[in-house]
Symmetry: C2
Subunit: 678 residues, 2 copies
């Protein structure tokens, strides 16, 4: 390997020599011919810290910025989990402490029982105090933080808690009124009442308005009679229904005097206190899944089930007598489900990346000189290219997720639309990012990524994220429709745009010079400009395409369906523009110069890798081929600049060691005969 | 919805009206207000066949073309599996016949025992007759066909069979000599001897030359003494080792008189006939995995294990005394592992696509007119865009896989290099395609894709494909290195290129006009030209970049490492060019005009979607933005042209109904209370 005295001038060589520094052989003995007398020198484990540069920034402060709120509450929750053997893995980690990971070799039935016992333990520790009865923004932010922390253990416990407290509990709170609150809220918070949420049916998922379950009002007895008129109307995927839930919210088409009043929500008991299914109800298991088997998803049939009239969740039922928009308002409080999913996706990516980066700093493969030492995985530019951009994206998404949570807790009726649009865009892009990150980390860890105890190959558990609470593609279409509506309304009013951060379109269109310098493409000015340019151009393209089809006599809905491709590109452009804004804001407001620097590097990588990966920049000419080449070169430079700080950055994710896995520490020791003999 | 009398002229409207025809409301009763007296009309299942156009081609003949060989043997194998309850799922399908899918809710231990019983049954049925003792190309092609068919059941049985017959059995056959054949070949074919293949170690996977297990020759006793000198040298991921294997091939560094003779292969018994582990051997389980839990992966430690000198697999050991190239030759016969993986990836994609397409022709969501009927999923252009390009790619890869198999069975020492390059390129691209296809099909089936019995969300079982038998990224780098070596050699010799199909580079560089017509981009001339252009340009870019780094004093190896990105783009360009050639050849040689037409549509979609998805066409200017826009428009036109034939195409995959899943048939009936009550 060549080495140099002075750092060379041009970026490529700068990068080359930067890598060369990492590749330079460390003092390891060269192999001797083996004989029984002198044992062959073997692979030794040296921790990532041993070879890593010192952090160039305050790791604890960086964590506070990315966690954004309630850091102490998070650490408390981590401690509560670590204290209970219910969460312990047989494998021991640093300090002899057990790793915290479920046994995925258990059957679906066993996993469900374990999850229940874990939740009951958390209830006993007061983790959920105030989750349903608490008031105020701080209480809601703290609840987010606690759920995010518990979710690090596994996705089943996150979903099982989410179904009970948010889908059931918050339906009672937001859709119900005083009489419902008095009856169920506190008992639900204490997990004495276990609830579920019967909206989805076999025949209808995303299209809630099409559900077939019916409720008719019997004025003689003052009861609603709920029926499953056909097999496609069976409630499906109802989390908690298969085993543990005692109560449910039922969504049904309400008919009064034969007239359809639209979808309403009713409360019904489905199991007696002895756990047996109530009369006039049939329940069956949804069966084994590719992941998330700790959640007992079930189906429910109703046979002339009579519920008293006061069980109608009536807080908004008066606004339900017409119209799609009001239906959205009806469901607005439940967007918290999407907010939970998108924040959980960010933390899951952090776990996988922390493990994969640490492993890549301890695992060597191939030598580039004959009989030279093998090279650390993360010293391969190709390995850096696989992992470091995902690290930067995950950091950027942390800030976007915090932005989303603050927006949610400050919700007002006026904000509902924006909350729906932002949460839809983030839910889709962050869960896709999470699945890609898990996959990349799995492959980057080689065969070790296949072992469930190593926790990088968790795709099966998270796969559902991309279709539940709304199919990601459907959500992206809805995002673009909302942007388009705002755009058209502004044109019609001949007023400036004033929603969804589209105000930038009121300014003159940014123009990007054809031959930008390396330093120019690293500037936030260029990066924001080109993201603005992409978004405004795609929005006007969408408007043109839709009106073209309408001009041919197609309905507005069908014209939108035909324009799906631009719509999806626009949804992505919107999500990435907002995400870039949030990390840029964090960079600008950072008080500490070193934090500014690392945030600047990460912001830069986020912006440039997003450009590199989205062909629309070249397809629609937002960038010249020459600029695209400069962007690629800068991505490579950023890789070698981030490489020395990779360990510090994943440390700043703040994931406790026990929530990582053997692969993140001395994997030779945990695989040694003494550790694994049976 | 608008409808038209005459088909409009321009492609976009042609497409719109084509879709309109599908979207036109079918005679379904409009919803009536529900009352106890008159039940609400419910979702009815109507089979895909009921709405599909008649096949525009001979489906059986199309299947013969894609299966390529031994269709009768495949059908026989399907029948053998269907006859045994060992393979039956509790769920019943068409004609009341059970589906053939394993119970994924079983523990790792249970799944392993079931797989063993299934293999023993297949042995009894004579499925493996001649697999190790048979000779001739026909025998080898038939063996491919049978393994592909058995592999449809699940990936564990495919891998478990592959490890025993190919890794163990063919090592005995190809690396061993007469004495080894006489001792083990027939008994292995009859599964009386169960073998495994101890090459990979905890510390070394892809880099086999770095393994640490040592063998020393004891001339006094004429034995080799095999040792695991350290924990990183433990044999790892050894399929069959944890439970069932009795014998193994051990790869170790051979030392004679203290001098390292390189990696050699030895045979040793690891379990006695009573199933207990032999002396001087320790075995432990690799544990639970994210998939493939039917395979009992284990680790092995050797403690002064003595094996008789005749257990050295010596057929090629004389060529092992030096050099990387000879080491490749040593392992060449084992490339069959990669060939099996890539063909299996194609058939797995076929299963998932057949299920997802059939479901999308029976599942409706949302209506585009108020109170109009809901729309079939596959009538959404966005849904077509998700699935139909994957269908076309899978068809193209079928022909490439057949090409690969024929190449393998005609292997000669001269062909070894080409077989390595083609099998590496196809293994990487086809397994990536398979994972993407499984993921897309899972999401396209919504929540139903999450149920293991539905068989579309099988990513966990196949994930390992992208890293075993060589990490896909490493393989792509090797492909590009070989292309580069041929390129440089030709330049040096000042002779034309003559390997890997690079002969096209001896012709003048194709030039692509800036404003191609729709019909031009659909032509095979343009498609081959632009694929050739991409490959030759990327190859010369790689050469330039490598020599640039070498010019700066970097070693050849390190220069290649720095050029990873172009190298990966080139590997992909190579794989796609060869794949396009194989389906184009099938199209040209098809005797039947209708087959020519459908193959032409699929070839066209394969070529144009590959262009659409690879930004290098725009990045490096192989296509003008205007041509790129034309390509995108033609992709959309091809979607609406393929849509009416989608069912016929997946029928031509030749997957028996029992190997599909409930989702592919009457999923309302299989989910009805009478079917699922517990």
């Amino acid at each position: 390997m060549a080495s140099r005295s002075r750092p060379p001038a041009d970026p490529a060589s700068r990068r080359a020599s930067a890598i060369a520094r990492h590749l330079r052989p460390r003092p390891t003995p060269t192999p001797l011919p083996w004989s029984p007398l002198e044992p062959l020198p073997c692979l030794q484990y040296s921790p990532p810290e041993s070879s890593a540069k010192a952090a160039a920034f305050d790791v604890a402060e960086m964590r506070r910025l990315m966690d954004g709120h309630d850091v102490e509450a998070r650490d408390w929750a981590y401690g509560v989990i670590a204290e209970s053997p219910l969460f312990w893995s047989p494998t021991r980690g640093p300090g002899g402490r057990p790793f915290l990971v479920p046994d995925y070799n258990q059957s679906m039935e066993q996993q469900r029982e374990m999850i229940l016992r874990r939740i009951v333990y958390l209830v006993g520790r007061g983790v959920f105090n105030g989750w349903l009865t608490g008031v105020g923004k701080e209480a809601e932010m703290r609840r987010f933080a606690l759920l995010e922390s518990i979710g690090l253990f596994d996705h089943s416990i996150n979903v099982k808690i989410g179904v009970h407290f948010f889908l059931w509990g918050l339906s009672i709170r937001f859709l119900g009124t005083k009489r419902h609150h008095e009856k169920w809220l506190k008992d639900s918070e204490d997990y004495l009442v276990k609830g579920c949420f019967a909206m989805t049916e076999l025949g209808h998922g995303s299209n809630v308005r099409g559900i077939e379950t019916v409720a008719t009002y019997d004025s003689t007895t003052g009861e609603f009679i709920i029926n499953t008129p056909c097999e496609s109307a069976q409630k499906y995927w109802i989390g908690g229904a298969a085993k543990h839930a005692m109560h449910t919210v039922i969504f049904a088409q309400l008919y009064m005097e034969g007239k359809n009043q639209g979808v309403h929500a009713f409360v019904a008991q489905i199991r007696n206190t002895d756990g047996n299914v109530c009369a006039n109800i049939r329940i069956a298991d949804c069966g084994h899944k590719i992941g998330l088997n700790g959640v007992d998803n079930g189906r429910i049939w109703f046979d002339n089930l009579r519920v008293p009239r006061e069980n109608l969740l009536n807080s908004v039922s008066d606004v339900l007598l017409d119209g799609r928009y009001r239906f959205a308002a009806f469901l607005a409080p439940l967007t918290i489900g999407r907010v939970n999913i998108l924040t959980n996706a960010v933390y899951t990516s952090k776990v996988a990346l922390a493990i994969a980066i640490r492993y890549s700093l301890t695992r060597r493969a191939f030598s580039i000189t004959n009989d030279g030492p093998e090279v650390l995985l993360l010293d391969y530019p190709s390995h850096q290219r696989r992992l470091l951009p995902l690290v930067a994206k995950t950091c950027a998404m942390s800030f976007a997720a915090n932005h989303m949570k603050r927006m949610y807790v400050q919700r007002t009726p006026e904000l509902n639309k924006a909350i729906h649009v932002y949460s839809s865009a983030f839910k889709a892009t962050f869960t896709w990012h999470n699945m890609r990150t898990l996959q990349e980390c799995r492959e980057a860890c080689g065969g070790q990524g296949i072992k469930t105890e190593n926790r990088v190959g968790m795709q099966g558990d998270y796969d559902v994220q991309s279709t539940f609470e709304g199919d990601n593609h459907v959500l992206m279409q809805q995002v673009s429709k909302s942007l388009l509506a705002e755009y058209i309304a502004a044109l019609k009013r001949n007023k400036p745009l004033r929603a969804f951060g589209l105000e930038h379109m009121n300014n003159p269109c940014p123009s990007i010079p054809d031959n930008l310098s390396s330093s120019a493409v690293r500037g936030s000015q260029f990066q924001m400009d080109v993201f603005y340019l992409r978004e405004r151009d795609l929005l006007s393209r969408l408007a043109k395409e839709v009106s073209k089809y309408q001009g041919r006599g197609e309905s507005k809905e069908y014209a939108a369906i035909l324009s799906y491709q631009v719509a999806e590109e626009l949804g992505k452009a919107f999500a990435e523009r907002v995400t870039l804004q949030t990390i840029l804001e964090a960079e600008m407001t950072a008080l500490d110069g070193q934090l500014k620097d690392i945030l600047g590097l990460l912001r830069c990588m986020y912006a440039l890798i997003s450009i590199e990966e989205d062909s629309s920049f070249l397809r629609y000419g937002y960038l010249s081929p020459s600029n695209a080449a400069t962007v690629r070169k800068e991505v490579e430079n950023l890789l070698s600049e981030l490489r020395p700080q990779a360990l510090a950055i994943v440390d700043s994710f703040g994931i406790p060691p026990a929530f990582l896995s053997p692969l993140a520490f001395d994997w030779i020791a945990t695989n040694s005969w003494s550790s694994v003999q049976q």
